[in-house]
Symmetry: C2
Subunit: 381 residues, 2 copies
């Protein structure tokens, strides 16, 4: 056989548990997900994300009143950075829960940063951990691509419902998902790549018939489908330039972290229309991103609200980038045209931490003329 | 958080089940391993490997007497190619066992190639499958990197002990692992890459202290260890040029597929000395590869023996390539010098399909002078 190891998201499809409800095998979940966070190079990636770091740092130190003398729970503490900051901001006690062995590094950091009297690192999954008390603040950096990939907010909800005091505060307090039409050179490239792969397949089928007397033709259709999914139906990580946004961005989901239920976030359904704001450009697809806000709560607001946005930016990209969904073929649009979009995102049946997106859109030109509609399914992996 | 999905071999280390004996959770094994083989692009890779294809094709069609009118079991049939060839060579019945959904494609191939009366595709793991009869031949392409990675031969042994007739034949019948000293530009590159990553880490530690008041210095040692493992202690996939081999290659393992037990293959221990055969060159490490032979059995030999070798070759590379183990620093050697090697390979505790290698070597110059010895642990992932 001989395969480079590529365990991974879409691979789980091999289990093919078709229409069955998502079953979460903890061991498999660990092999597929948590493991990623057990590597320091990955922690370093996140700790080097200035936008991310500044937002959390400012949200804590500009709102010390939320932390001073308070009890804090950090869900998925990783290296422990948010727990340490919370302690430095005056927290009385910080419970830092981490599912992976990263907990050992967090413990070391807590010690060398002299907050070991305040921060207690607990290795375990949030769903299983038992705390000796309820907390005033739950802080967590739980956001995945397009906000909800990784489904980690489930653990934050679980923590909130079990351990947050009735008047407790969530950090962050609010989250939003954005979606906007974009232009991009990627469509042509991906379509060409796909074409090359399929051409190559046809030669392979011929060669195999000639050299080895076996006709592989019957696999052309499933191979094409598999490659189509890979090249055109899997969303792409991109750091878009703001000038690639060609229409008005729409908010397709708003989450109040204090009240949202797993039900509220396990499906995102949006229907909106976006005016094209650029002259004579090409609609190549859509970009999706998120922002979160640190506002405290109505009866205990932040002294200074902080925003963390992963929107396209000339100079302040994040490790989240944006998720790009390519529409094909691209269509010529111009100012005055309008793109109507139907968006549906839900969790993959094979892996609840991955997402599937059903996207359809149509362009109404200023003339009233309608361009042929686009409809496709995408996978966020 | 925000992570590209990178489930993968080394990730399993996150489970950190330390000294515990390998426990195989079937679901995890599927997520980590079998899944890979459920993709047609990967099957195509293997089906496009001419060395691999020609060897199996010739082994079957130049030894039809082993197949004509016989019952055959194909372990891990994948696309079904070996099963179809066996039928075309005159087999009376072929059981083609496949653990993944690839079985459905195999079924389609079997049908369109008009051997559905002979080939029965069975989806399931070899350990669980029950056949209605014993077979005359077991054929399987079970070889992983350095032969034993993937530990798939275990399933062939299980199939053999349960389903092969006393006088049955194994395809392939024999296997060997080779090891040889090499020169390569990779050592310098990898050492420089590691240096850059560590430099970058030091800046990161400074920045984090200055900008965010947290001292990460205590993680420098574990980060260095993690990156050292990645850059210098993980074997590399390479298609070596024969002129990179600078000493006599040694056989470090021989397997008789008819008699080998799981015990025989779960550890490879070798101690050998390899004369340097090039003048004024640099010992940069070692290359490992394998070959398998199709000889039938003593009392029922092949009419024409066939060999499948993955040795370094100018023009006949395979998708297996070779596994390269870098020794550092490189040492100058020349004809007349001799490298003594102690090699030990065993299965990873975290994932029984991956391998760990303990390698030590020393160079005795023709003058009798000994160069400083090298000793390191490697991971095959």
């Amino acid at each position: 056989m001989g395969s480079r190891h590529n365990g991974g998201a879409s691979d789980r499809a091999a289990l093919g548990n078709g229409g069955a409800p998502p079953v979460v095998d903890k061991e498999v979940d660990f092999a597929n997900y948590f493991c990623t966070y057990a590597f320091l190079y990955h922690q370093k990636d996140m700790l080097s994300d200035r936008v991310r770091m500044n937002a959390y740092y400012n949200s804590i130190f500009r709102n010390k009143h939320h932390f001073h003398g308070k009890t804090v729970l950090d869900v998925g503490t990783g290296s422990g950075i948010l727990a340490i900051w919370s302690a430095q901001a005056g927290a009385k006690k910080v419970y830092a829960v981490e599912a992976t062995k990263m907990s050992e590094h967090a413990r070391a950091l807590v010690k060398t940063n002299n907050v070991e009297d305040v921060v207690e690192v607990i290795e375990g999954s949030m769903e299983d951990v038992v705390l000796p008390e309820k907390v005033d603040v739950i802080i967590s950096e739980w956001m995945g691509y397009l906000l909800l990939r990784e489904s980690m907010f489930d653990s934050v909800i679980c923590a909130r419902d079990r351990w947050l005091k009735p008047n407790g505060v969530m950090y962050p307090s609010h989250a939003r998902i954005w979606f906007a039409p974009i232009r991009s050179g990627l469509v042509d490239r991906k379509e060409n790549d796909l074409e090359d792969v399929i051409d190559d397949w046809h030669h392979f089928v011929e060669d195999t018939k000639d050299a080895y007397g076996v006709d592989m033709g019957v696999l052309t259709q499933p191979f094409t489908a598999e490659q189509r999914r890979y090249y055109l139906q899997t969303s792409l990580w991109q750091n878009l330039h703001p000038n690639q946004i060609i229409g008005t961005a729409a908010i397709i989901k708003e989450i109040d972290c204090l009240t949202a239920s797993v039900n509220d976030i396990s499906e995102v359904r949006a229907s909106f229309s976006s005016p094209i704001t650029l002259e004579n450009t090409i609609l190549c697809g859509f970009g999706g991103w998120f922002d979160v806000h640190f506002r405290g709560r109505k009866d205990n607001p932040a002294q200074q609200e902080v925003e963390l946005t992963t929107a396209p930016s000339k100079d302040a990209g994040t490790h989240w980038g944006q998720q790009v969904f390519l529409t094909h073929p691209p269509s010529c649009v111009t100012e005055g045209d309008s793109v109507s979009v139907e968006f549906l995102m839900y969790r993959s049946k094979e892996n609840h931490r991955l997402m599937e997106v059903e996207l359809s859109c149509g362009v109404r030109q200023s003339s009233g003329n309608l361009l042929p509609p686009f409809k496709s399914k995408f996978h966020i992996e």
